[in-house]
C-alpha cells in the first residue's frame, strides 16, 4: 500500500521535474496552477518518504524539489542550501532539543 503511494509520489516528482518551464508557456494562470500542484506533490512525497527513508533523505528531497519547482537552476547554491538546511534542522531538533526525528532504512 505505502509502496504504491511512494511510486505514485515519485512519478509526481518526475512529472514535476520534466513538465514545467519549457512546455507550459500558455498563460500565467494555468502556469501557476501547475506550480501549485508541483509544490503539493513535493510536500506529499516528502511526508511519504519521511516514514520510509527517514528525515535526512525526505528533507533533502523536500528542499531540492521546492528549489527546482520554484524555478531555481543554479546547482551549487541549491546543494549548499539543501544540505545546510538539513544539517541545521538535525542539529537544532535532534541534537539540541532531543526530538526523535523519523529514521528510516537510511539515516
Amino acid at each position: 500500500m505505502s509502496i504504491v503511494a511512494i511510486i505514485l509520489g515519485a512519478l509526481q516528482f518526475v512529472a514535476a521535474l520534466t513538465l514545467p518551464p519549457e512546455k507550459a508557456e500558455k498563460d500565467q494562470l494555468s502556469r501557476s496552477m501547475v506550480v501549485f500542484f508541483e509544490i503539493l506533490g513535493v510536500i506529499v512525497l516528502h511526508i511519504l518518504l519521511l516514514g520510509v527513508a527517514g528525515f535526512a533523505v525526505a528533507n533533502l528531497v523536500l528542499t531540492f524539489g521546492l528549489f527546482i519547482v520554484l524555478g531555481y537552476r543554479r546547482w551549487l547554491p541549491m546543494a549548499v542550501a539543501a544540505i545546510g538546511v538539513t544539517v541545521l534542522l538535525y542539529l537544532v531538533f535532534r541534537t539540541a532539543l532531543g526530538i526523535p526525528l523519523p529514521t528510516g532504512i537510511l539515516l
Binding site: L62, F67, V85
Partner: protein
C-alpha cells in the same frame, strides 16, 4: 509599602549578580531564536530545559526560563514582519499589518514598532505583577465557567468586524473555524465526533500544525503565483528601510500601547483565556479606535496593538501562578514545575519565606523585558539583512522544511505534517477566494473554550440558563459582545440606507 520596595530592591540585587544576569541574557537570546523559528516556541524550549535547570542554583535556572518566556513571543514577530509567517502563535496577528509594512519598504520601522510595543507591554505587565498581583489574583478566582463562556462569546463577537469591508466573508470563515473546533471528542461526555475513524483526530485538530500550514505552507504555495521566471520580483520584501521611530509616531501609538497592555495583562491573569484571544482582541480594539485607517494594508497601529498585548499576557499569566500557585497557561504550568523541582511552592508563602526567589523572578521579568529590546534589535537587523540576500525559491524551500519539522515536533507525529499540508491548501484556497483566515483561527480556539465552559456552567446551574444573566461579570461581557457583534452589521445597514437616500434625492 516600604517593605515591598525593599523586597523589590532585593530582587534586583539577586538578578544583577553577574552569573544570574548572564543566564538571563542567554535565555533572552534563546527565546528570540526559538521565537523566530515557526514550530518552535517557548513551551517546548522550557519543557526541554527544565531538567537542566535542576542542576543549577534555583534563581539562575529560573532567570534563564524567564528570559525565554519573555523573548519568545517577541521574536515571533520578526518572522511575521519579514516573511509573513508568524514564528509563534502569539504573533499571528502581527502578520496582518507587519508584512504589508515590510513589503512597502518599511520593515525596519515595523520591527522597531514591534520592539517598542513588546518592551512596553512586558514592562507594563511586570509592574502590575510587582504591585498588584495578590489583589488581582483574588479577582481572577471569580471567573467561573459562566464567565469563561461569556469571555469566549466576547472573543467570537469580534469576528463580525474582522474582515474589514465584508461581514459576510468574516462570518463564513468564523463558522468554518467553529465547525473545525467540533472535530474530536466532545467535552464532558467524551463522545467522538467527525474523527473519520482516525485515532489521531480524537483530541481534535492539532492547533500549532494547522497554524503552521495556514501561514507557512500557504505562503510557499503563494509563490506559485509569481511564476518561476519572474521569481525575483513581486511579493517579497525589497528593502528594509530605516529603523528609526519618530517622536510623533511614538506619541500616536502611546494610547494603543496603554490600552492593549492593560487588555493583555487582564487576559493573561484570567487562567486559560489565552494568548490568541488577547492579540485578536487588541487588534480589533485598535481598529475600532481609528476608523479612518485602512488596517491590513500596513498601518503601524496594527503592529503595535498585538505586540503590546502578547508581551503583557506573559507578565499577566505569572500573576495567578506566583500569588496563588495556579498556572494560567501551559508555559506557566511549566514554571510551576520548575519551581517545585527546587522544593519551592508558589503562592503567598513564597513571597514571605523566600523573598529573594519570589522578587528575583519579578526583577528578572523587568530586566529581561528591557534586555529583550536591545538584543532583539540586533537580531532583527542581522536577520533582515540575511533574508534579503536569499533568493526566493531557496527561501521557500527552507521555510517549508522548517515548517514540516516544526509541525512534526508537536507530538513527534507524522500525522501532524499532513494536517499542516491540508491547512496549507485550505489557506491557499481561502486566499484565492478572498476569505480572511483570522476569523477561522480565532473560532478554532474559542469554539472549544465556549463549548466546554457552556457545558460546565450548565452542569453547575443544573441546566438553567439563568446562570449567564444573574452573574454580573458574565452579563456585562455578553452585553458588550452583542454590541461588538451588531455594530459592524448595523453600520453596513446604515450606509445602505444613506446611499439609497442619496440616490433618490438628485432625481
Amino acid at each position: 509599602m516600604g517593605s515591598l520596595l525593599s523586597n523589590i530592591a532585593l530582587g534586583f540585587q539577586v538578578i544583577l549578580q553577574p552569573h544570574v544576569f548572564l543566564m538571563l541574557a542567554g535565555g533572552v537570546l534563546l527565546g528570540l531564536v526559538v521565537g523566530v523559528i515557526p514550530g518552535l516556541n517557548d513551551t517546548i524550549t522550557i519543557s526541554i530545559l527544565i531538567p537542566i535547570t535542576f542542576a543549577m542554583e534555583p534563581i539562575v535556572g529560573l532567570a534563564m526560563l524567564v528570559g525565554i518566556y519573555c523573548a519568545a513571543c517577541y521574536g515571533g514577530s520578526f518572522a511575521s514582519i519579514l516573511v509573513g509567517i508568524p514564528g509563534t502563535a502569539s504573533s499571528v496577528v502581527t502578520t496582518q499589518d507587519g508584512y504589508p509594512m515590510a513589503r512597502k519598504g518599511l520593515a525596519g520601522q515595523a520591527l522597531s514598532i514591534s520592539t517598542a510595543s513588546s518592551v512596553f507591554g512586558g514592562v507594563f505587565s511586570t509592574l502590575v505583577l510587582m504591585f498588584a498581583a495578590p489583589w488581582l489574583a483574588e479577582q481572577a478566582l471569580r471567573f467561573g465557567p459562566a464567565e469563561y463562556f461569556a469571555l469566549a462569546v466576547f472573543g467570537l463577537s469580534t469576528i463580525a468586524g474582522m474582515g474589514g469591508d465584508s461581514v459576510l466573508r468574516s462570518l463564513i470563515s468564523g463558522v468554518l473555524g467553529l465547525l473545525i473546533a467540533t472535530i474530536g471528542m466532545s467535552p464532558q461526555v467524551g463522545y467522538p465526533r467527525f474523527y473519520f475513524g482516525n485515532p489521531n483526530l480524537l483530541d481534535g485538530i492539532p492547533f500549532i500544525p494547522a497554524l503552521i500550514g495556514l501561514f507557512g505552507i500557504t505562503s510557499v504555495m503563494g509563490m506559485s503565483n509569481t511564476g518561476p521566471s519572474t521569481a525575483a520580483g513581486t511579493g517579497r520584501v525589497g528593502q528594509i528601510g530605516s529603523f528609526r521611530l519618530e517622536r510623533a509616531l511614538i506619541r500616536r501609538l502611546l494610547p494603543i500601547w496603554v490600552i492593549c497592555a492593560a487588555l493583555g495583562t487582564f487576559i493573561g491573569i484570567v487562567p486559560g483565556a489565552g494568548m490568541i484571544m488577547a492579540v485578536y482582541l487588541a487588534y480589533e480594539i485598535a481598529r475600532r479606535r481609528s476608523p479612518g485607517l485602512e488596517f491590513g494594508t500596513g498601518v503601524p497601529e496594527g503592529v503595535a496593538a498585538p505586540e503590546a498585548a502578547n508581551n503583557s499576557v506573559v507578565g499577566g499569566s505569572m500573576v495567578p501562578l506566583l500569588s496563588l500557585g495556579v498556572p494560567g497557561n501551559s508555559t506557566s504550568a511549566l514554571f510551576l514545575g520548575a519551581l517545585m523541582i527546587h522544593g519551592l511552592r508558589p503562592g503567598p508563602m513564597l513571597f514571605m519565606e523566600q523573598p529573594q526567589i519570589a522578587y528575583g523572578i519579578l526583577a528578572a521579568f523587568f530586566i529581561g523585558n528591557i534586555l529583550m529590546g536591545g538584543m532583539g534589535l540586533l537580531v532583527a537587523r542581522f536577520m533582515s539583512g540575511l533574508l534579503l540576500a536569499i533568493p526566493q525559491p531557496l527561501l521557500g524551500g527552507a521555510v517549508a522544511a522548517f515548517c514540516a519539522v516544526g509541525a512534526y515536533s508537536m507530538g513527534n507525529n507524522i500525522f501532524n505534517i499532513w494536517i499542516m499540508l491540508i491547512f496549507g491548501v485550505l489557506g491557499f484556497v481561502m486566499n484565492k477566494l478572498r476569505l480572511p483566515v483570522s476569523p477561522m483561527i480565532l473560532a478554532m480556539v474559542l469554539g472549544t473554550m465556549a463549548e466546554t465552559s457552556l457545558q460546565q456552567a450548565l452542569v453547575i446551574s443544573r441546566g438553567s440558563y439563568s446562570i449567564f444573566y444573574t452573574r454580573p461579570i458574565a452579563l456585562v461581557l455578553l452585553v458588550v459582545s452583542a454590541w461588538f457583534f451588531l455594530m459592524p452589521i448595523a453600520k453596513i445597514f446604515m450606509q445602505r440606507m444613506r446611499s439609497k437616500k442619496l440616490q433618490s434625492v438628485p432625481k
